[in-house]
């Protein structure tokens, strides 16, 4: 029977803690056979929350390339990696969930870019489009997610708010 857990010392070798997958020996298994190895830094999902972004009010105006920027303090310190997904915000009730910012002679108003079939639970990862039309007009859409030591930032090119769900992992 294979050892699923090794904790402490084995022979002349010191081990912290190793946990193997079913069917693998925790002492001999390679990385692919381990669920946990204390010689490697496991990710800690130490924080997560949600926030609502601002809406892009530049649609069809002179500066669609200037998205609505939402700043959300994360309150975290140290080195971390954050990941986010978003769906149409709570204030958005329509079916068209992602629109383009139109600018120039080739585009007027807004352009439908996608339909979220269920705006209550349909989450997309960050995405961003920029298109140069043959007319020379620009169009941009989507959203981006970034952070620094103090805040998260969402650049929203959509014509509606975004409900952003994020989690942060500490990896060091």
């Amino acid at each position: 029977m294979s050892r699923r857990i090794i904790m402490g010392r084995s022979g002349s070798v010191n081990y912290g803690l190793r946990v193997s997958k079913a069917g693998y020996d925790a002492l001999a298994a390679g990385l692919d056979g381990l669920l946990f190895d204390s010689d490697l830094i496991a990710a800690k999902a130490f924080a997560g929350n949600t926030f609502l972004t601002n809406v892009n009010n530049n649609l069809g105006r002179s500066s669609p390339q200037a998205p609505a920027v939402t700043t959300a303090p994360h309150g975290l310190s140290g080195t971390f990696i954050a990941a986010a997904i978003a769906r149409p915000g709570a204030l958005y009730t329509g079916a068209d969930a992602d629109r383009w910012s139109g600018w120039g002679s080739g585009i007027t108003g807004t352009m439908v870019a996608a339909v979220y079939l269920d705006p209550t639970k349909s989450f997309a990862t960050p995405h961003y489009y920029r298109q140069n039309f043959s007319t020379g007009a620009l169009a941009e859409g989507g959203w981006t997610f970034s952070w620094d030591g103090t805040n998260f930032y969402v650049h929203n090119y959509c014509s509606h708010t975004l409900f952003v769900r994020w989690k942060a992992m500490r990896v060091g």
Partner: protein, 126 residues
């Protein structure tokens, strides 16, 4: 020699399983120097793999989680390499699984339709 793992009572009075980074004593290490502790939550990868997308508005085959978690995991799906991509997908997730859909571009096209995209879902342990 540093104790890499303590199962039970630490000198501080805390009880649980504590695993330290190499070079740190699991009995006295600060939280930042612990790889595993009962104090902080950990990322739980509850599902990963690939899913076949269908056409516009047509859900993929339902991808079940191993069980109903009672909360909705964060589901990422789509072409992650390279980023950003115009072949975008999104997931409609519930507590027991999700369906994936291709997402349209400005011109109404669905570049991701019919493609096979990776996904991963994770929860934060309480």
């Amino acid at each position: 020699m540093a104790r890499r793992a303590v199962f039970g009572l630490r000198s501080s009075g805390q009880i649980g399983l504590f695993v330290s980074k190499p070079g740190f004593d699991a009995d006295s290490a600060a939280e930042a120097d612990l790889i595993f502790s009962p104090i902080r939550s950990h990322a739980l990868l509850v599902a990963s793999g690939f899913v076949q997308l269908n056409g516009p508005g047509v859900p993929s085959a339902f991808v079940p989680f191993i069980r109903d978690f009672g909360v909705i995991p964060m589901v990422f799906c789509g072409g992650f390499n390279p980023r950003p991509t115009t072949a975008i997908a999104y997931a409609a997730a519930g507590t027991s699984g999700f369906n994936a859909y291709p997402k349209a571009l400005f011109d109404g096209s669905y570049p991701a339709a019919g493609s096979v995209v990776p996904y991963w879902a994770w929860l934060k342990a309480a």
